[in-house]
């Protein structure tokens, strides 16, 4: 039995401590907004926040999380999250959308620590998030737009 706090709610999960957080979120807690893309931290589709910091859920063992707060796309909130969500919708960033939970969690992480990211900052923070539909131009524009709206 492993204890986890996800989106502010405490859970006890019947799973091996070695189990990746990704599969506990998706298969035990029905938080399916966090996506499986590669399983080897190469695509970022599974990005969630651990105490506000973006991590790849496919490489995060539940036994290592301890008291850290897990936040997923379903539960992320606050000014930065709202600005990102509004920008994503306003610019119609999504295509297939499968990677976008992870993209947004990475973008929220970036903007939470850097109110006015440059293009190079965006490259640095977002290069680990693959979008096979190729929506990068709009992701970049949406991050700049969210930064403007927060200024």
């Amino acid at each position: 039995m492993v204890k986890l706090t996800v989106n502010g709610v405490a859970h006890s999960v019947e799973a091996d401590p070695e189990t990746p957080l990704l599969w506990v979120l998706r298969d035990h807690l029905d938080k399916t907004g966090t996506k499986y893309g590669c399983g080897i931290a190469q695509c970022g589709a599974c990005t969630v926040h651990l105490d506000g910091e973006p991590v790849r859920a496919c490489q995060t063992r539940i036994g290592d999380i301890g008291d850290a707060r897990v936040t997923t796309i379903e539960g992320v909130s606050g000014k930065v999250a709202e600005a990102v969500r509004t920008a994503w919708r306003g610019l119609d960033v999504v295509q297939c959308g499968y990677c976008q939970s992870g993209q947004m969690m990475s973008a929220i992480g970036l903007l939470s620590g850097n109110a006015k990211p440059t293009d190079a900052d965006i490259d640095g923070a977002m290069d680990g998030n693959v979008c096979r539909c190729g929506t990068y131009q709009r992701i970049r524009a949406a991050i700049h737009e969210a930064a403007r709206s927060l200024a």
Binding site: A15, D16, T19, P20, W23, R26, D27, H28, D30, K31, T32, G33, T34, K35, Y36, G37, C38, G39, I40, Q42, C43, A45, T72, I73, E74, R85, W88, R89, D92, V93, V94, Q95, C96, G97, Y98, C99, Q100, S101, M104, I122, D123, M126, D127, N129, V130, C131, R132, C133, G134, T135, Y136, Q137, R138, I139, R140
Partner: protein, 734 residues
């Protein structure tokens, strides 16, 4: 109007198909007009009005005023749900804020793709093109029924009633009603068979930036993809597939796998051995300790290098003539200058972000529910039914949002549907089965863009004009051996192998296009823009070489050969103008390259701005011009072209699937790395105004990207990198 070029398919075969094509359990016979609207019209093809207007099939108006548009296609990201709803809602004069969509069930009679005959399916960039008149007529008919209901209720002439934004009004008597108030009465009205359609100047949604209907659900985690289906009692299956294509199970030792926590069962199925568990992670861990010995006696055991060497050897011999005019060899023999080139193309995986998966659940009455990113519903339904031994009416499909496809979810044999059904059958249907392919399964599982080699030879006269063109290619046909063979392969020529080359719009006085069909055991499939993925590159890079050999401007040279192709020359001129072609940089590591190509009835030109030297190749900017007829949603069209660049760039720069002794070497994103944020160029998209019926844009952005970049690399460095992916070794010493 669309130019009628050499018809790759003949009209009689199309009519035979449309009239008599049968989709039957176990014996699927069907045909696609994969060439899209252009070929369909050229061949005097299907009536795209869709017959009598069918408002009941395509629109539901509820008492709460919501208007639900039924979507007969798969939306794998291309945004067709928004576009299709826009078309209907405009004719209906609906309030866009009340418009919703729902994916239609499998029903080939109501929801067939009219460019695929009696088949419900999505592909060939046909969603908007085949639905355009059908949905306008459905929307207009529904509007007329609302008006008739209001006229009856208010006892006023229908001609005095207006409709706007979901409200029906009679100004003279100052009465009005919302759609929801009239819906029930409207449903009782007769369906007008020939409803009056709006004039283009009356459109309020078509041609505007209507916001995507899927943006909200795809930005809060609530959009349900096939991967997210959770049925009561559901189990997860992963399958250990043969390491080599064509390998079969010889012996299984599942003792260790069965002992793993969470593992419920291990079953052998035709495509491998399935480990069934309570959850995905347990199934994956169980598979790790599964021991299977494989019988490779019927398997493909060669390396891709060996297959490529065989292709080159075979290319020395003539192929089957796909098209020809005059005496190309004779003309080249007398030419002032002769150029030759070889282009090789690797296998490519689609690598959609959502790996393949599907869920099938047996209902207590022996019927089945299928939840997946259904792309050819008619085939998928038939294959599931055949595998489970029931008739197709016992199988219900529930199409979900698809996390990409790029062609992969549509296989002629519905491969992963059949695999899911086989597991359900092997387990007696006692629990809903969610089959999950891991990234490695998805990437190593075949159905690749074929490996292809093109060999070209052309002669120029003293003035630099082309006098003869010889073009020979080899690759594995997608259609030969598939249910489509009878319809789409003529005299050994698969039209999808050489589309975009053998029907070139360039004015070539003498030409000869030949095809060699390869037969290796690697499964191949359409990959976003099908044959155009390689033909456009070979054509557009070689044309560029000829232009340089002629001492001509590459844009002017092309325009000179496209005098009877106004829409293609139109986008070429527009892209060149917007990119600043006339003041482009002149080499020294920075160059512009151009390419133009028609596919699926849509015309796209791109200018690539590239900096390149021995150490680095960077695509800075892409300026695109597109002609897709009437632009139903200009913002989504722009998004598709931007996305096509991001999608295809990694295949220009590095992606390839290789085999070593029959085993696929690239198995995840570490060795088959998609384009990343820092590599994405700025993309500008210009849309040609048009009054022609709309065509598609899901695929047509892709073909010109590689040749535009390759031509820009030449302009920047003087080095001609022909084959894909571009070989950085070719820039050594620059």
């Amino acid at each position: 109007m669309l130019k009628v070029r050499q018809a790759l398919e003949t009209a009689p075969s199309r009519r035979a198909f449309l009239g008599g094509g049968a989709v039957a359990t176990g014996a699927i016979l069907l045909g696609f007009t994969l060439g899209g609207p252009r070929q369909a019209r050229a061949a005097g093809g299907p009536d795209l009005t869709g017959g009598p207007a069918k408002p009941n099939a395509f629109v539901r108006i509820a008492a709460d005023d919501t208007v639900t548009v039924m979507i007969k296609h798969l939306d794998m990201g291309q945004g067709n749900t928004t576009g299709l709803a826009t078309i209907l809602a405009d004719e209906l004069d609906a309030d866009w804020a009340t418009v919703r969509t729902a994916f239609a069930p499998a029903d080939a009679a109501l929801y067939n793709n009219m460019l695929m005959g009696p088949v419900q399916g999505t592909g060939g960039s046909t969603a908007i093109a085949n639905s355009w008149l059908q949905l306008r007529r459905a929307g207009a008919a529904a509007r007329a029924m609302l008006v008739a209901a209001a006229a009856t209720r208010w006892t006023v002439p229908a001609g005095e009633i207006t409709v706007s934004n979901g409200v029906v009004r009679h100004a003279a008597s100052n009465r009005q009603a919302r759609f929801g108030e009239l819906a029930e009465a409207a449903a009782a009205q007769p369906v007008p068979q020939e409803p009056t359609l709006k004039r283009p100047d009356q459109w309020t949604l078509i041609g505007t930036k209507v916001p995507r209907l899927d943006s909200a659900a795809k930005t809060d985690g609530s959009a349900t993809y096939s991967m997210d289906i959770r049925r009561p009692g559901q189990v997860t299956a992963v399958v250990l597939h043969a390491p080599r294509f064509g390998g079969v199970v010889a012996r299984v030792n599942d003792t260790a796998a069965r002992a793993m926590p969470g593992v419920l069962d291990v079953v052998t199925i035709p495509t491998g051995v399935a480990v069934i568990a309570k959850d995905t992670w347990s199934a994956m861990k169980g598979r790790e300790v599964l021991e299977v010995a494989w019988d490779d006696s019927g398997a493909e055991t060669r390396s891709s290098d060996a297959i490529l060497a065989e292709y080159r050897e075979r290319l020395k011999n003539p192929g089957i003539v796909a098209s020809q005019r005059g005496d190309a060899a004779g003309a080249i023999g007398k030419a002032a200058k002769v150029l030759e080139a070889e282009f090789t193309f690797p296998y490519l995986a689609h690598a959609s972000m959502e790996p393949l998966n599907a869920t099938i659940e047996r209902a207590p009455d022996g019927t089945y529910d299928v939840f997946a990113g259904c792309q050819i519903q008619t085939i998928e339904q038939a294959v599931v039914a055949a595998t489970l031994g029931v008739t197709t009416d016992k199988v219900r499909l529930h199409t979900q949002w698809a996390g990409g496809s790029f062609g992969r979810r549509a296989t002629p044999g519905a491969d992963y549907f059949a695999e899911t059904a086989a597991i359900v059958k092997a387990t007696g249907g006692k629990a809903p089965v969610h089959l999950v392919w891991t990234r490695e399964d998805d990437m190593a599982g075949g159905y690749y863009r074929p490996m292809v080699v093109h060999k070209l030879r052309a002669g120029l006269d003293a003035a630099g004009a082309v006098v003869g063109w010889e073009h020979r290619m080899i690759g594995k046909s997608i259609m030969i051996g598939s249910p489509f063979e009878a319809m789409l392969v003529k005299n050994g020529v698969d039209s999808t192998s050489i589309e975009g080359a053998s029907d070139t719009p360039y004015a070539l006085p003498a030409y000869r296009f030949e095809v060699n069909n390869a037969r290796e055991g690697v499964p191949v499939l359409w990959w976003r823009s099908v044959g155009h993925t390689h033909t456009a590159h070979a054509m557009e890079v070689f044309i560029d070489e000829l232009a340089h050999a002629a001492g001509a401007d590459p844009v002017a040279y092309r325009l000179g050969m496209l005098k009877s192709a106004p829409r293609l020359s139109g986008v070429l001129a527009l892209a060149a103008e917007k990119a600043g072609w006339s003041s482009r940089p002149s080499g020294k590591g920075h160059g512009f390259g151009v390419a133009a190509h028609e596919s699926f009835g849509s015309y796209v030109a791109m200018v690539a701005d590239v900096t390149a030297d021995e150490a680095k190749l960077k695509v800075n900017r892409i300026v695109a011009a597109v002609d897709v007829g009437i632009a139903v949603n200009p913002d989504i069209i722009r998004a598709q072209v931007e996305g096509a660049v991001g999608f295809a760039l990694s295949s220009v720069l590095r992606n390839r699937i290789t085999l070593k002794d029959g085993v696929v070497q690239e198995r995840n994103f570490d060795t088959y790395e998609p384009t990343r944020m820092s590599e994405m160029p700025v993309v500008e998209v210009h849309i040609m105004p048009s009054t022609t019926a709309p065509t598609g844009i899901g695929e047509p952005g892709v073909p010109v990207i590689a040749p535009a970049i390759s031509n820009a690399v030449f302009a920047a460095t003087g080095r001609r990198l022909r084959s894909l992916p571009l070989d950085p070794g070719g820039l050594k010493g620059v």
